[in-house]
Subunit: 338 residues, 2 copies
Amino acid sequence: MSVTIHDVARAAGVSVASASRALSGRRRVTPEIAERVARAAAELGYQPNAVAKALRDQTTGTIGMVVPGIGNPFFTTIVEAVERELQNFGTDLLLCSSQSSPEVEARRLETLLARRVDGLIISPCGIEASVPAVLDAARRVPLVQLDRHIEGGGADWVGVDDEAGMSQAVDHVAAGGAHSVVFVGSRLLNSSARLRLDGFERAAARAGMETRTPLLGDFTLEWGIEAGRRLLDDGPLPDAVVCGNDEIAVGLLRSLRTGGTRIPEDVSVVGFDDVGHATMCDPPLTTVRQPVEEMAAEAVRLLGQIKAGDPRPAQRIAIAPSIVVRQTSRPAAGRETT
Amino acid sequence: MSVTIHDVARAAGVSVASASRALSGRRRVTPEIAERVARAAAELGYQPNAVAKALRDQTTGTIGMVVPGIGNPFFTTIVEAVERELQNFGTDLLLCSSQSSPEVEARRLETLLARRVDGLIISPCGIEASVPAVLDAARRVPLVQLDRHIEGGGADWVGVDDEAGMSQAVDHVAAGGAHSVVFVGSRLLNSSARLRLDGFERAAARAGMETRTPLLGDFTLEWGIEAGRRLLDDGPLPDAVVCGNDEIAVGLLRSLRTGGTRIPEDVSVVGFDDVGHATMCDPPLTTVRQPVEEMAAEAVRLLGQIKAGDPRPAQRIAIAPSIVVRQTSRPAAGRETT
DNA sequence: AAAGACTGGGTAATCGATTACCCGGGTTCC
DNA sequence: GGAACCCGGGTAATCGATTACCCAGTCTTT
């Protein structure tokens, strides 16, 4: 059994109230008592019970975070960013994975709420399927959606302007001389998948580029590799491929190159996210960078502003991404017709 | 304010004791009361407060896990495996990153203990630096070390037999005809780094192979790339390179190949861990597989056996790894002298 | 010098769920 | 018919930290 404030008080020969005051410093005590309590606490190795404190204070000092999975490096970087950001507030992170399943997601939200987290940050795995669980949670505790979001405006959101990002990607390959472009992304179950495809299609139309039916699978390396093979099989390659995320782009790169395609001479490839290893694939990947630190900071800031139960209009904060040009795309200078 | 069991009891017109009994089923109540309580709970949307329950029961239903970082894919897979394993027990995981810093690690352990986790799983970031924090934590709560461990036998451990793994790696390249081999690993701050180097050196000596001074950096892709460049600069390449983990191996592969080296014709490369993308790099990586699921299951099982404060000799469970041969190493058949 | 303000101490209520303990009414058994 | 038991209900203690509230002593102020 561990040592409580009663033990400390007894050892110091004072009441629990004095012990608590001496330790928290929230009311003056005589130096004499402060000293005795401090010594007793140190000798006994007293460590306050956070559970009891949480019950009494009605606040746990934790926020819950639910992401589709930590296998995807984009989510691990955003989790790390959120964790760093929360450290400034002495708040701990309870991390859960929904394993891209709306049922698991709903269960995880339930247990986080039962544990009385002070707030929630979630990247919902489904655009429609996650609606009830997310809205229900948002009604009970401050909640912000980060990166992905549900349809409708029921809950706050911080993320990137997918439309603007896709515009940059498409305009960039167009400036590099591409006339035809194809999109390789994920099935349209979540908001990122949907908005990036939409953004791509609008941008391609605006740029007057020729497109084909998009290839939609998962946001994984495996699907990128598979999609590359399909492109090779399906006859003449497009001038450019714009991908829904970097995992797909890296996989695609790999299978196009093993198929003998030169990147970027034959085909330009652009990713999305700018995860760590985008710089380290071969050749280094041109991609649309998500300002992860800024998004995390903004999400935490917004979370702090929300007062539970306050019927305030939901905010949507879309941060502008920027393209970072590396070596999988032809530069604007080298304009050549195919 | 959220709905408590008192609200449910009042709505159902019974005492809190009856409400609690009806909901938990831990003592019989009349069907009449059971029914009324169930209806009241459903109507009010009652959800038990896990904080209050934890305080009363002296158990939180959570275990804490501390890993050096979730950027390293090996740790994300092992975290996922542990999470899956714990689900079977209705236990939640509180995940923390030590950011490879013993100070951060000690702080994280403190806050997990303050939150009264029922147990701890840790992969200590330092072999010596983590000793006090780990032993102190182990004294207060069931604790098992997973993968990495501190020196001495002060706390239980589940991991892989690094020595055996390295033997397999070295014997495999030797069987493929290699006469010289170099080790590329991490600086010797943690147990994995140290034991893998030791294992490598003993195995190389036993196999009668020529070695050079090992290259030691970090367990990262970046270091693998850098180490590859150094090998290329330092004159004639060895017949084989054995790496401390897969990240290093993948990076090394990349820079050796861009330097014009053929893999595995000129140099065999072997990794360690068998993380997901080892199959998907180019060419697919020969590596020593860690049985992550089994390790996670064993760690959870062991954790369940430990009774806090029970002075029981610490156990060390080393699971045998096995090499998985892919295409970065010459097969035993193709024996050729260089 | 008396009244009021201030200081620093202690007692006990509080947070919410569980459960030890008690009690009254109905059965059972001799 | 009366003692012993069982069953199912309620009251209140418990977990540990914080703090509202109270009180005694001291300091100010007029």
